[in-house]
């Protein structure tokens, strides 16, 4: 742990590179989130029907079908084999996320992401304790539970409560009281569990994580030797356990962040004043010398504070 640990998160990077560069992936993500939502809203708001439907299933320019593969999977488990249009749509989406990283959906597309990011911001401002932190494998249990309930009830079970669909469909087709699900997730993340929903429970994110577990696009801590232990990457990372094996790896360990939990959000790249991280592919074998052995103990306390 160094003196820099106590500086506000990202301050060094801002001073060194300027505010814009120190937020470039955050800004790009917000642009992407707004863009994907706008494409769906062009129709109902302005009558420009390039994209019809919502994230569960859509039709673009009357030719490109897209289907949420997790919803298609639940439907199959529930006993309905979808027609070809939906299967092709699910295949396209599935292959795309399998290549660029399943949880790219979470950080670049999902409309709940700004909600839980906002919740995390408020959580920090209020100085809340991290609260209930479910076990690492809890999300897999939830995923299994959803598929089991789908099979038993013969329905696409998660769509009865999925806050993502509630928010996205609500914005496009009308809410009813569906916003209550969104508020619930927000409050849960602020007061009950830090980074709780997206990072520990949401079965959609878990599914996409598994889908992209062999994805090509990856973040690499390729300049890890330059790390000065400011801990900013841990502070901004929504899944901070993914950083440790890469950044703190020994000589010979891969600097690639290979955990399926990594959302490829790029915030670690933003905030690092030492330019440790960069986007690359999983086959990148640029030599990445490990950091010099530290005389001090591992900054475990710093990590848990920062998260």
């Amino acid at each position: 742990m160094t003196a820099k640990t106590h500086l506000p998160v990202g301050q060094e990077a801002i001073e060194k590179f300027g505010w814009l560069r120190a937020h470039r992936f955050l800004l790009l993500r917000r642009v992407s989130q707004v863009l994907f939502l706008s494409l769906f809203l062009l129709g109902p708001w302005f009558g420009i029907w390039w994209v019809k439907g919502n994230l569960s299933g859509s039709m673009t320019f009357d030719i490109l079908p897209l289907t949420d593969p997790f919803i298609a999977l639940q439907g199959m488990v529930a006993g309905h084999w979808p027609e070809l249009t939906a299967l092709i749509g699910a295949l396209i989406v599935g292959v795309a996320y399998a290549l660029i990283g399943g949880r790219v959906y979470c950080s670049w597309v999902c409309p709940i992401n700004p909600v839980t990011d906002g919740a995390h911001w408020l959580h920090d401002r209020l100085g809340m304790q991290k609260g209930w932190q479910p076990k690492h494998n809890t999300r897999y249990w939830v995923l299994g539970m959803v598929l089991a309930v789908s099979a038993i009830s013969g329905t696409i079970a998660w769509e009865f409560v999925n806050p993502i669909s509630m928010l996205h469909r609500g914005l496009i087709f009308g809410f009813g009281f569906a916003w209550a699900f969104v508020i619930a997730v927000f409050l849960f993340d602020v007061f009950v569990s830090r980074r709780g929903w997206c990072g520990h429970l949401c079965p959609v994110g878990t599914f996409y994580g598994l889908l992209g577990s062999k994805s090509v696009l990856r973040v690499s801590a390729v300049e890890r030797a330059a790390c000065d232990d400011c801990m900013d990457c841990f502070a901004v990372c929504p899944e901070m356990h993914v950083i440790t094996p890469a950044l703190r790896g020994k000589e010979g360990d891969t600097p690639l962040i290979l955990s399926p939990d990594c959302t490829n959000c790029g915030r670690c790249i933003d905030v690092c004043a030492m330019d440790v991280f960069k986007f690359t592919n999983r086959f990148d074998d640029t030599p990445a010398p490990a950091r010099d052995a530290r005389t001090r103990t591992q900054p475990a306390s710093g990590a848990s504070r920062a998260a």
Binding site: N54, G57, I71, H80, P82, I156, E159, F160, F175, A178
Partner: protein
């Protein structure tokens, strides 16, 4: 229980079992809560009508991904996606309310064509075969036709006019000498489009409503034989006995009734007479 006799469980194994039990128990609770929510949420209100070609409700919720493409391709804004708390149908699933906007029964059925999953069945190619529900004349006390007036609006607007709804003439007991033109819905022709319900002239609720067939239809009494239906004889292989006609002789087609017309006594003659009945096939005797 002495510690010496038992190998202490390895801490890893113990933790694994504890975590597994905790996960399973948590999921059981969450899963039951989710199942209970689903069983409540899937109850479809009687007046929420699914689009044409919709699978039956059990299969529909396994097939519909709630994308709203059917809603977008409906040219009459008939279809809408259910909103939580307002509409009762499972949130995000398509339905329509006949009293607001009925189904216009497009020839090309664009909603079915738009469905990516088959929740709206593509085997429905003729909209007249649609089975969204069944119109029921639910309030005969208020229906103007049933009161003996000539409203006839439901009959007139029906896209399957004079087949799905017919007007059956009945005696008006109240006035004693007028007719009641009773709207009768025929389940084999009605598609459940709801145009009758929409156009019913009564203020507020309609006298005729589209209901799901599971509510609107009874099971037939298979154990009764309807003797008047030709293909359903009361007794198999009925013996065809000759019909008796009045007069001497029977079943004599050459001289029906036993009277050859030219054998009748000449009326102009004394003692001649005119029978008070006419005989079939004789061309009338007067």
């Amino acid at each position: 229980m002495s510690a010496q006799n038992r190998k202490p469980m390895s801490p890893d194994r113990r933790r694994f079992l504890q975590d597994a039990a905790r996960g399973a128990a948590g999921c059981a609770v969450a899963g039951m809560a989710l199942s209970q929510f689903i069983s409540d949420a899937r109850a479809l209100p009687a007046q929420a009508i699914r689009p044409p070609g919709a699978l039956d409700e059990d299969n529909f919720l396994a097939a519909c991904i709630r994308c709203g493409l059917c809603v977008r391709d409906c040219p009459y804004d008939t279809l809408k996606l259910a909103e939580l708390g307002y509409d009762g149908a499972a949130t995000g699933t398509p339905y329509f309310t006949a009293r607001d906007i009925p189904c216009e029964m497009c020839e090309d059925i664009p909603c079915v064509a738009a469905c990516p999953t088959g929740a709206l069945d593509k085997t429905l190619t003729n909209i007249d075969d649609a089975d969204m529900g069944l119109a029921v004349l639910i309030d005969e006390e208020k229906c103007l036709n049933a009161l003996g007036l000539r409203c006839d609006v439901c009959y007139r607007v029906c896209p399957v006019i004079d087949e799905a709804i017919t007007l059956e003439r009945r005696h008006n007991e109240r006035s004693g000498h007028h007719a009641i033109f009773m709207p009768i819905v025929h389940s084999d022709k009605c598609t459940g489009c709801g145009k009758c319900e929409k156009s019913c002239v009564l203020p507020g609720e309609a006298a005729i409503k589209v209901l799901p067939r599971r509510i609107a239809m009874a099971d037939a009494a298979e154990h009764y034989k309807l003797g008047w239906e030709e293909n359903n004889p009361l007794v198999d292989d009925l013996i065809d006995l000759p019909d008796r006609l009045p007069g001497p002789g029977t079943d004599n087609l050459v001289t029906p009734g036993g009277f050859a017309p030219d054998a009748l006594p000449n009326q102009s003659m004394d003692g001649g007479f005119t029978p008070s009945f006419s005989l079939p096939g004789t061309g009338g005797s007067n």
